[in-house]
């Protein structure tokens, strides 16, 4: 006799619970953390380094670098003087909450204000896995094309801030910013958006100032 047992449970509920524990760890330490997601080459590491430059010592930063293999990104962050932890996912296409939990143990949390987590370069998988940070950020970049919100709706839906990087390329690349924004507005109405260029530095300060306010608001 076959019987049907109702379950109605979110598939990644175990990860969600672990993410909630990470959030508690961060909150106890009085930290603000952001999860930076993007496709490969959109400028995640560049944004972290530019943000560091723009903050100019106003916040104490720690970095968690997620990557398939290698520690190139963590080395770049360490060279810039940041406490950095590398997570090699060993082929996994995303960070999950358990991986971040391990990384947080390796960071001097008591000495930090802000933790920047660089997720694995990918527009699909990381969107499904909450890791417990306070803010999910997506970096889109001009060369990727203006149709990405329509092609990767899951990613655009799951973030609380959007950065459009490489705007210095707008005159050289066919990218309809209005078409792009229309897609974003449907998927994620009102999401705060920063247009910037890590290359020229344009717009980076506005993003960094906003970040400082988020960290301060959190502390108060």
């Amino acid at each position: 006799m076959t019987t049907r047992v109702p379950v109605v449970e979110k598939i990644l509920s175990a990860n969600d619970r672990m993410a909630a524990r990470n959030r508690e760890t961060l909150d106890r330490a009085g930290l603000y953390a952001i999860n930076i997601m993007a496709s490969p080459g959109a400028g995640k590491t560049s944004l972290i380094l530019k943000t560091l430059e723009s903050l100019n010592g106003r916040l104490r930063l720690g970095v968690v670098e997620g990557d398939l293999a290698s520690s190139i990104d963590a080395d770049r962050a360490a060279a810039a003087g940041l406490p950095a932890v590398q997570i090699n996912t060993g082929g996994d296409c995303h960070l999950d909450a358990a991986m971040l939990a391990d990384a947080l143990i390796a960071l001097p949390l008591a000495e930090l204000d802000l933790v920047l987590v660089e997720n694995v370069g990918n527009l699909i998988c990381p969107a499904n896995f909450q890791i417990g940070t306070h803010l999910n950020v997506l970096i889109a970049s001009i060369p990727e094309g203006d149709d990405k919100p329509y092609k990767y709706p899951g990613m655009y839906r799951g973030v609380q801030a959007l950065i459009v990087n490489k705007i210095d390329l707008l005159p050289h690349v066919p990218f309809d910013l209005e078409y792009f924004k229309r897609g974003v507005e449907v998927l994620n109405p009102g999401v705060i958006t920063f247009l910037l260029s890590c290359k020229t530095g344009e717009g980076v300060n506005a993003w960094a100032e906003w970040l400082v306010r988020q960290v301060k608001d959190k502390k108060e």
């Binding site: 076959t2 047992v5 509920s13 990860n15 296409c93 149709d147 109405p189």
Partner: protein
């Protein structure tokens, strides 16, 4: 490939509920997956065959109920399925639309013996 992690979660959830129901065997898993939750059915099935082996869920059939993305126009109330080129309302061309279905990502039920 996040399908391995997803498949592992499906197995964990199913086994836990089967145990609560005192089941001897799980014959089917019924999943509900919305358009905005991206997983590849074939890939989940592939991992399933590997990781369910030796458990009471071995050989269980995975049923994927796919929920298309659904949007509702704020201007005229029209309900439609968006394509991946534009989200504009096909009835009145308004861009003021909201997503009403497609975020589902759950184990809905299991069939057990």
């Amino acid at each position: 490939m996040h399908e391995l992690a997803v498949t592992q979660s499906i197995l964990d959830i199913s086994l836990r509920h089967a145990q609560k129901a005192d089941a001897k065997r799980i014959t089917a898993i019924n999943l509900v997956i919305g358009r905005f939750s991206s997983i590849v059915d074939d890939s989940v099935q592939f991992y399933w065959d590997a990781i369910a082996e030796g458990t009471i869920a071995q050989g269980a059939t995975l049923h994927f109920q796919r929920i298309p993305g659904e949007m509702t126009c704020r201007a005229c109330g029209h309900i439609f399925q968006p394509d991946d080129v534009t989200f504009a309302c096909p009835a009145c061309s308004s861009l003021s639309v909201r997503i009403t279905k497609g975020d589902e990502f759950r184990v809905d039920s299991i069939d057990v013996e």
